[in-house]
């Protein structure tokens, strides 16, 4: 997936799949303006799992200090788009 240009919709859809798998949040709840912690009720342990799965899915590296800045789904989409 890392080889082709990902659209924003691809990334949101991919993240939504991961978030549903890890935390049981319905995929249509996972939209750009949502905060992982405050809106989607995802704890710090689940965020680590989501990050690892996102790395595999999008072929990116998400170091811990970058992960701390990914507050919303939109933040994650922007990061993946820039770094994949």
């Amino acid at each position: 997936m890392a080889d082709k240009q990902l659209t924003e919709q691809d990334i949101v859809a991919g993240l939504a799949e991961i978030v549903e798998e890890v935390a049981g949040v319905a995929q249509d709840e996972v939209t750009k303006e949502k905060s992982f912690v405050d809106d989607l009720d995802i704890d710090s342990l689940s965020m680590v799992e989501i990050a690892v799965q996102a790395e595999d899915k999008f072929g990116v590296k998400i170091p811990d200090d970058e992960l701390a800045n990914l507050k919303t789904v939109g933040d994650a989409v922007t990061y993946v788009a820039k770094n994949s």
């Binding site: 890890v22 935390a23 049981g24 710090s44 342990l45 689940s46 680590v48 799992e49 690892v52 790395e55």
Partner: protein, 410 residues
């Protein structure tokens, strides 16, 4: 508030005989066996001499929501399932008990060993990234207690005693103390265990404590029988809801029985073998009678620890004779259930409470010819109808831990 009477108001279980209390109790009464041949590839790969175990009748993943199940070790899954059943059976809903007056005590013998093994495999094969951030909360032996505490919002104290095969009973004893000393009004207590894996099977097999009756799994666990050759490893959970009697009566709860007294002791004799004189075990039973203010003559039944090992089974009857006498009628539920280690004392406490409540003692399975060292009346064949005043549940663990719980009819 101290020295309050403690009563049992809720029961929950998931065992090799069934996914709940009703099916487990039915299995004990009708003489089903939870033991079967293991079909895992490691049994043959490692040429294990023991090829049988008592797996759960109902897979936890069939009961729990998917996301919850993936966050929990199997030992936590079974504990949670049994706790929810017990909570509901007690007639409690969400937020019905003041969190600061609610406690949880759930023990385990082994804890999240399968998580530890799986995550170590992942670390070795795939590196750090694949190790789950939930590894530690899944493998820690206080995990079942902690997750149940979170679920029920228990804030009076959440504890997880670890004393091998006495853990579940010790949890109930600890809960009794919390209620008697006024630390809580309600305590959810019991044990959870799910550690059937190549290494546990291999380790127990190497200690020569397990049955190798692989060709006849249903007959392998045979407490007190002359042909017994070891225990059968099982998995499951048992949970009871205990309350101060005053609290239970005020809310109009159904009361199964009282937990009149508890006794604990230690052998300080050998790391795995019980003191053959049964001295430590007898002291636990005597303590249960003393704390309950119970005359030994009132004890009509002992739900025994008897695991189907050559040494332990007879020792326990020596202890019963010393502490209580010849009169209690015995049964050994492990003939049907196998040995649930840290959950055993809790599941068997559920059975003991139901024996008092229904006036019915389930038979000991596979007892064809009784060991000549046993002089007590042991129930075999059909369940025994008997009016009981006091019934005792015994649990003993590797390490010389002895726990005796004295339940009384109300």
């Amino acid at each position: 508030m101290s020295n309050a009477e403690v009563v049992v108001t809720g029961l929950g279980a998931t065992t090799p005989l069934g996914g709940d209390v009703e099916s487990t109790w039915d299995g004990l009464l009708t003489g089903r066996s939870g033991v079967a041949r293991l079909d895992e590839d490691w049994v043959e790969r490692f040429e294990l001499p023991v090829k049988i175990a008592a797996r759960l009748a109902v897979e936890p993943t069939e009961v729990l929501p998917r996301v919850e199940a993936r966050r929990l070790d199997r030992s936590e899954q079974v504990g949670m399932i049994a706790a929810r059943q017990a909570w509901q059976d007690a007639g409690f809903g969400e937020d019905d008990v003041d969190p600061e007056r609610l406690g949880v005590v759930v023990g385990t013998g082994i804890g999240g060993a399968t998580t530890l093994l799986n995550m170590d495999d992942l670390l070795e094969t795939s590196g750090l990234r694949k190790v789950s951030p939930l590894t530690v909360p899944m493998l820690m032996p206080n995990g079942p207690a902690a997750y149940i505490g979170l679920e029920l919002k228990a804030r009076a104290g959440v504890h997880a005693p670890v004393s091998a095969c006495a853990s579940g009973a010790e949890a109930i004893a600890m809960a009794w103390r919390m209620l008697r000393t006024g630390e809580a009004d309600v305590v959810v207590a019991g044990g959870a265990e799910a550690c059937i894996a190549a290494i546990t099977m291999a380790g127990f097999a190497q200690s020569r404590t397990m049955s190798t009756r692989n060709d006849d799994p249903a007959a392998a666990s045979r407490p007190w029988d002359v042909e017994r050759d070891g225990f059968v490893l099982g998995e499951g959970a048992g949970i009871v809801v205990l309350e101060r009697a005053e609290y239970a009566k005020a809310r109009g709860a159904r009361i199964y029985a009282s937990l009149a007294g508890i006794g604990t002791s230690a052998d300080s004799y050998h790391i795995t073998a019980p003191d053959p004189e049964g001295t430590g075990q007898a002291r636990a039973m005597t303590a249960a009678l003393r704390t309950g203010g119970i005359d030994p003559a009132r004890v009509g039944h002992v739900n025994a620890h008897a695991t189907s090992t050559p040494v332990g089974d007879v020792t326990e009857t020596v202890a019963v004779r010393k502490a209580i006498g010849e009169h209690p009628v015995l049964t050994a539920p492990k003939g049907a259930l196998g040995h649930l280690l840290g959950a055993a004392g809790a599941v068997e406490s559920v059975a003991t409470v139901l024996s008092l409540y229904h006036g019915l003692i389930p038979p000991t399975q596979n007892l064809s010819e009784i060991d000549p060292g046993v002089s007590h009346d042991v129930v075999t064949g059909e369940p025994r109808k008997v009016d009981l005043d006091v019934a005792i549940n015994d649990s003993f663990g590797f390490g010389g831990h002895n726990v005796s719980l004295a339940f009384a009819a109300v």
